[in-house]
């Protein structure tokens, strides 16, 4: 009896835990670009945003065995990123910095501003709350419940915030010729 137990224990020690590398590379890493876009919104500076994405992906990698296969991995990753960012913010409250890219866009000559740049400028004028909800829902394609999970707010709040954010974006854009051209 004791010998069987010893054998069992030794047998267990010889077994590698499941290697999730392939699954992780297939379902999680392709979302790195979207995570970086969201991290840039939260951090406002590229180096810090990259660190946050790296920390998010490594945290997800360490806990990937807990991820429920078949559910939305992108939403799961965005939740991790938001949680890590919130933890950082609790540790140190700092004033968001204005990125160099934003400065450059503000200084660009009007004739050089493309339609897409105008949209990004209009987006940058929205409140951080409106930017965040639009980025998650409209740009990254997360569902309402998934956005609610990331932001830790009720679904009804996401819906009303999203409606107001779209209205605000349209209102900012309506001051520009771009809107008349696109018919928004």
């Amino acid at each position: 009896m004791e010998l069987d137990d010893v054998k069992f224990v030794r047998g267990t020690s010889l077994t590698m835990p499941k290697d999730w590398t392939f699954e992780f590379e297939t379902v999680a890493l392709p979302h790195a670009g979207g995570l970086l876009r969201y991290a840039l919104h939260l951090e406002g500076e590229k180096a810090r945003a990259e660190d946050l994405v790296q920390e998010t992906l490594l945290s997800a990698w360490r806990h990937f065995h807990q991820f429920e296969q078949g559910t939305n991995c992108k939403a799961w990753l965005f939740q991790i990123l938001k949680n890590l960012h919130s933890k950082q913010m609790r540790r140190m409250i700092r004033k968001p910095e204005v990125s160099l890219e934003e400065d450059e866009s503000r200084l660009a000559a009007p004739e050089r501003i493309s339609a897409n740049q105008q949209v990004r400028d209009a987006f940058a004028r929205l409140t951080p709350e409106h930017q965040e909800v639009l980025q998650l829902a409209a740009v990254e394609g997360l569902g309402i419940r998934e956005v609610a999970d990331v932001l830790q707010v009720p679904q009804g709040t996401v819906m009303s915030r999203l409606s107001r954010a779209r209205a605000s974006l349209r209102s900012v854009l309506q001051t520009r010729a771009f809107v008349r051209k696109e018919g928004l």
């Binding site: 020690s13 297939t26 392709p30 994405v53 790296q54 990698w61 949209v119 569902g143 409606s163």
Partner: protein, 251 residues
């Protein structure tokens, strides 16, 4: 359902999350109400315009991916070295040796592998989930797209796989780099070709073939003197490697 309740449910409708009676009620109202139909159409277009603008401005994520791959590989070695068995010792030694000899090429390979997986994911989003409506289909739109993005003449005809016909093209973003995503059709089978002119590519990649790129797809990446790209198609149905090899010879 009235206009007010349609506005309340609009975010759910646009996210494709309305079901059952609510969806039917919404649909009936939209069919009869011109104002609500226009409002929905405008919101949808606003989302598309915003998505396109934001994706165009995405940052290159390859540096982060390299660091993540390195950390992941390190954690795998640590795990292997913790296993108290001789049968893994030789393997662990091989892995360490490989790492010493070629860490940088390993990282580059892993990043490229991730790009190929991202391309497969984009193919799945575009063609199975139909997430993106911003395709160029019409000949004049396609001609304008080709003129703006590529300098080579007759590129479209040259990259069309044998026996396939061109269907549509759009710009997409894989890991912070902007690629043109071409779709070709042979019967009911779709083949995606993602191309980025080397002048815009931040990293040159070697050839790679992923027999399983997720979602039932296979992917082959290639890079030649003038072009970097990925070919994606259904596993076993599309000879992605063959198409990629042909592209290398072409550019």
């Amino acid at each position: 359902m009235n206009c007010e309740s349609v506005q309340d449910l609009l975010p759910l409708y646009l996210a494709g999350e309305l079901t059952g009676e609510e969806l039917a009620g919404m649909q009936n109202h939209i069919d009869a109400c011109e104002a609500c139909m226009q409002s929905i159409s405008a919101d949808r277009q606003l989302d598309d315009v915003l998505r396109t603008a934001m994706l165009e401005h995405s940052s290159d994520v390859s540096g982060v991916l390299q660091r993540v791959h390195t950390e992941m590989a390190t954690s795998v070695w640590k795990r292997m070295l913790h296993v108290r068995s001789l049968r893994f010792a030789a393997l662990a030694a091989m892995v360490v040796l490989t790492a010493v000899l070629g860490v940088s090429s390993f990282r580059a390979h892993q990043v490229q592998r991730t790009m190929a997986l991202a391309a497969a994911d984009d193919h799945y989003s575009d063609l199975v989930l139909l997430r993106h409506p911003d395709w160029a289909y019409q000949p004049e739109d396609v001609a304008r797209f080709m003129l703006e993005e590529f300098s080579q003449q007759d590129l479209l005809a040259a990259i069309t796989p044998q026996g396939a016909r061109f269907e549509k093209v759009r710009l997409c973003n894989l890991g912070g780099a902007q690629y043109a995503h071409f779709v070709f059709r042979t019967g009911s089978t779709e083949t995606s070709v993602f191309l980025i002119p080397n002048g815009q590519a931040r990293n040159r990649n070697d050839a790679i073939h992923l027999a399983d790129a997720g979602h039932g797809l296979e992917a082959s990446g290639f890079s030649s003197a003038h072009m970097t790209g990925v070919v994606v198609g259904n596993k076993g149905q599309v000879q992605t490697q063959e198409i990629a090899n042909r592209m290398v010879g072409m550019f």
